[in-house]
Subunit: 190 residues, 2 copies
DNA sequence: GTCTATACGGCGATAGAC
DNA sequence: GTCTATCGCCGTATAGAC
């Protein structure tokens, strides 16, 4: 599929990476085309060769984030038990604590912004949190909690996304550890 | 303090209310001065008589939200026990489920946007989530959980803010009830 | 105090040379 | 494919009539 675009210069990839970086740091709306082009070291006017409209950059940003979750999911699937996979998800989130304190949840903060933006991008942003929720539900189901699987998934993801927001708001990375410890303990009671 | 401004027309109040409404619905950045003025039924140019800069409208928006929390806190203080107060806080959040599904958490979504906006407004937005956290910690301390009070506060607020984000993302108000039930049950174990 | 008109800048997007 | 130059619009903010 990469072969459909003949360019080997990797400019499109650099633009997407730059846009994701800036959208995560300052918000997608705050990042102008010029900002993104500068960050990617690509001449401004050239951007419109790769993207017909600014919204399409937003599409690519969401796709890039979703690809990161897919990659993570792939790695987690190699673990033996569903509980190990859920704990690894928690650990991985906590491992990001410094970045979360500075910029917020990589998925939640982007999703929140796109949701408020409305239009086409709002719908496209939904899977950023909904797909992890479904994945967690599947893990809990495999753990044998039965009908409680969905509620458990809601509890786990809510705790993680919520504490990420609190961490960003207070600027204190320790909050991530505090909540993670409680969530792990709760997992052990199931 | 209201007497410092002689105007009785209430235009400033209408502007702030309109700005809060639009900031909550579409995001503060998306709401232009013209949009706010139109929503408040105030001529555009007149806005700059009440606010020297756009940022000052942001200040007023944050103040208005904070005042809502102060009002809620005042009502909750009338309840007899700390656990009743915490449960009432949960109930009140769930009672907002339809609005949360459509627009997100009234405090969290605003705080998240202002935090990414950076500058002066980012710092001013922090108490929107930090003050409730402190209040919750005080309640837990009164419940006699000792050193766990802070961790409990983190767990409760993270759960509520997190499920609000999930609710907005999925569009399903039921998630609020599901998580609230789990948080109430957890409260009962303390 | 209230409002109109407008200055000014930055943005997304386009045209077209190379 | 790559890049420069520029258009047109809409945003904040101001000047000044009433």
């Amino acid at each position: 599929m990469a072969a459909l675009k003949s360019s080997k210069s990797g400019k499109r990839e650099r633009l997407v990476e730059a846009a994701l970086e800036l959208a995560y740091r300052d918000g997608f709306q705050a990042a102008s085309i010029a900002d993104i082009a500068k960050e990617a070291d690509v001449p401004v006017g050239n951007v419109y060769y790769y993207f017909k409209t600014r919204d399409q950059i937003g599409d690519a940003v969401i796709d890039a984030r979703m690809a990161q979750f897919e990659s993570l999911r792939g790695r987690l699937e190699k673990l033996a038990t569903p509980k190990e996979r859920l704990v690894a998800f928690i650990d991985m989130t906590v491992g990001n604590q410094e970045t979360v304190a500075a910029r917020g949840c990589p998925f939640g903060s982007l999703a929140a912004e796109f949701l408020k933006l409305g239009g086409h991008l709002a719908g496209k942003a939904r899977p950023m949190l909904a797909d992890p929720l479904e994945w967690m539900e599947a893990q809990f189901r495999q753990m044998g909690v039965g009908d409680a699987a969905f509620a458990c998934a809601v509890h786990l993801e809510a705790g993680l996304r919520g504490v990420s927001l609190l961490t960003q708001c207070t600027g204190d990375p320790k909050l991530m550890e505090i909540e993670a410890a409680q969530l792990r303990a709760w997992l052990d009671t199931l």
